[in-house]
């Protein structure tokens, strides 16, 4: 494609998105199971007589509906990545990972922008600061294109490819990732007002309104200070104010790290000369397994609703380099199947034989994306075409390659390499909670 063709194709895509058409249901795929959109297809537990009485009415857990996202369960929605076609992920297609139902200003008046405040405090600062929503909007802000990804994205690969059956957690498949344009006030602007003491050791983002008062996440100051312009307080996503499901009115934005670091419904930032231990860096969102030594807390550390015994492993930080093609993975060995997954358990997606363009996405936020390779049926690795834009470390890129698809069953694998030369591995060590699996994904497909 030359530049004009690319521009025309992008324009057509934008128009499709704005018309809110069902995108990316690429005609080449004859996925046979679209009618499987019922809870019956999903349950990990068969319906049983003891539960056959009238079920409870549905309660509003999230604000978004499920039409363009994948229902993993309770408060968790993945992206239908096989439908992805845009570079920026529309908010309606963006994954949601909450620990509790989405709090709204109706139930929690402190989330109304007129009432919202964030308290910035701690012994690592020269001065405390309290900011309202309007105060924040008057400060200098930045916009950044960055992926956000759930630590558990790709957990499916532990079950389907690595035979690690003891891994627990939701079955995200590969869609708990998206790219958004974030507008935020960087921490550098906050520190310009509060001052920062040289012995500040850790920063805690905390939500005083989310769930049972146990949702926040710390970061070491050395990490914060390595890129204080790239981390901050986000108030817009793709040009619009944040939606409740994405943390309205203000959330933390920690580019490149797993989404758990970007605390939603933010109300407190604490900077201290000690470390913090909370739910999301002790018994969740950590690498728990024999390959990962547990960190040891120091005297004087701050524990919020956890104890030293709760520390199961080191917290997950950077998301590793990854890739996928826009084909739904075959779900065969996973403990659960998302309710609105397009394939039945064990079913292969099908593709018409002949010349096909296979498309995908690749990203590696720690160092930025350098190249993507693919192979068919275990053959030689070949380089895929990376489609611009590839705007530095935090963005993903789309890629594609042509394939003369012969009839029969095939396996397509993809692997991305970042600018540090790190390539997706064939396997990753076991970790109990199924975090950050970036093993080379294997897409099984039936060509007819």
């Amino acid at each position: 494609m030359n530049r004009t063709d690319v521009a025309r194709a992008e324009r057509a895509l934008v128009e499709k998105v704005l018309r809110r058409e069902d995108l990316g249901r690429r005609r080449m795929f004859e996925v046979a199971a679209w009618s499987v959109v019922g809870a019956a297809a999903a349950s990990t537990v068969p319906a049983a007589p003891v539960l056959a009485q009238a079920a409870a009415p549905a309660r509003r857990i999230l604000q978004k509906d499920d039409s363009r996202i994948l229902n993993i369960g309770a408060t968790v929605r993945s992206g239908k990545y096989w439908n992805f076609s845009t570079w920026i992920t529309p908010v309606e297609e963006f994954y949601v990972r909450n620990h509790y139902p989405t709090p709204t200003a109706d139930q929690k008046p402190e989330l109304d922008p007129r009432n919202w405040k964030v308290k910035v405090h701690g012994n690592g600062l020269e001065r405390e600061l309290e900011l309202g929503y309007d105060d924040l909007l008057k400060m200098r802000s930045r916009t950044i294109f960055a992926t956000m990804e759930c630590h558990g994205n790709g957990r499916t690969l532990f079950w389907e490819q690595l035979d690690m059956k003891d891994v627990t957690g939701g079955n995200w498949v590969l869609g708990a990732v998206g790219l958004a344009e974030w507008e935020y006030v960087p921490l550098s602007e906050i520190f310009a007002r509060t001052g920062l003491k040289p012995d500040a050791k850790a920063l805690l983002f905390w939500s005083g309104v989310d769930g049972a008062g146990d949702i926040g996440r710390p970061m070491p100051m050395r990490e914060v200070l390595s890129r204080p312009d790239d981390i901050g307080l986000a108030f817009r996503m793709n040009g619009n104010p944040l939606l409740p499901d994405h943390g309205a009115p203000v959330r933390a934005l920690v580019t490149g790290w797993g989404g758990a670091a970007s605390i939603k419904w933010l109300t407190e930032i604490k900077v201290a000369t000690h470390d913090f231990w909370v739910r999301l860096n002790t018994k969740a969102e950590v690498f728990a397994g024999p390959a990962y030594p547990k960190p040891t807390p120091a005297a004087g550390d701050e524990f919020r609703n956890v104890t030293p015994d709760d520390i199961h492993g080191p917290m997950v930080e950077w998301m590793p380099v990854k890739s996928f093609i826009t084909v739904p993975l075959v779900i065969e060995k996973s403990p659960s199947l998302p309710v609105n997954y397009p394939l039945k358990r064990g079913e292969l997606p099908t593709l018409a034989s002949g010349r096909q363009t296979i498309r995908g996405y690749a990203w590696g936020p720690q160092h930025g994306l350098r190249k993507v390779e693919y192979r068919i049926d275990g053959g030689p690795w070949r380089e895929a075409h990376i489609r611009p834009p590839n705007l530095g470390r935090y963005t993903w890129s789309r890629f594609d390659f042509e394939w003369d698809a012969p009839a029969g069953e095939h396996v397509i694998e993809t692997r991305a390499t970042d600018n540090a030369g790190i390539t997706q591995p064939p396997t990753v060590p076991f970790n109990q909670y199924g975090m950050a699996n970036n093993a080379v994904p294997r897409f099984r497909i039936r060509v007819v």
Partner: protein, 131 residues
């Protein structure tokens, strides 16, 4: 094909907006409430949380006893509300409110938070501490 999915999505969206208006039923007598709760737990919860509440195929951390997740709720009302809204994980509408009350009582009893002979109701939930 698309037309199959859109109405289904709309139905789901419609169902999601039906916020529960009805009250949680009054408690059953404690013995039968716990018996019911035990049956519901085995049927709907054990697959993810383990027969003994110490962890299973879906969730690794213990939900009652030493290191239990439910301590964070501090009182039974928080746990009951959570279960009514969010559990079972794959489909919270799969278990009735009566059964959710019973299974919450069972979980509290296993944790030692519900006194022997006591039962759980919507009205006493806020007064039952989880330590």
């Amino acid at each position: 094909m698309k037309r199959v999915l859109v109405p289904a999505g709309a139905v789901l969206a419609g169902a999601m907006t039906m916020i529960a208006a009805r009250d949680v039923p009054t408690a059953l007598a404690s013995g039968s409430q716990l018996e019911r709760g035990r049956a519901v737990y085995a049927e709907a919860c054990a697959v993810c949380h383990g027969e003994d509440g110490r962890g299973g195929a879906g969730f690794a951390n213990p939900i009652w006893g030493e290191g239990a997740q439910i301590r964070k709720f501090r009182h039974a009302a928080g746990l009951l509300e959570y279960n009514l809204m969010l559990m079972p994980f794959d489909d919270p509408t799969r278990v009735s409110d009566d059964d959710k009350l019973a299974v919450t009582a069972y979980i509290l009893a296993r944790h030692g938070a519900l006194a022997q002979g006591a039962s759980l109701s919507e009205s006493n939930a806020a007064a039952i501490a989880i330590r």
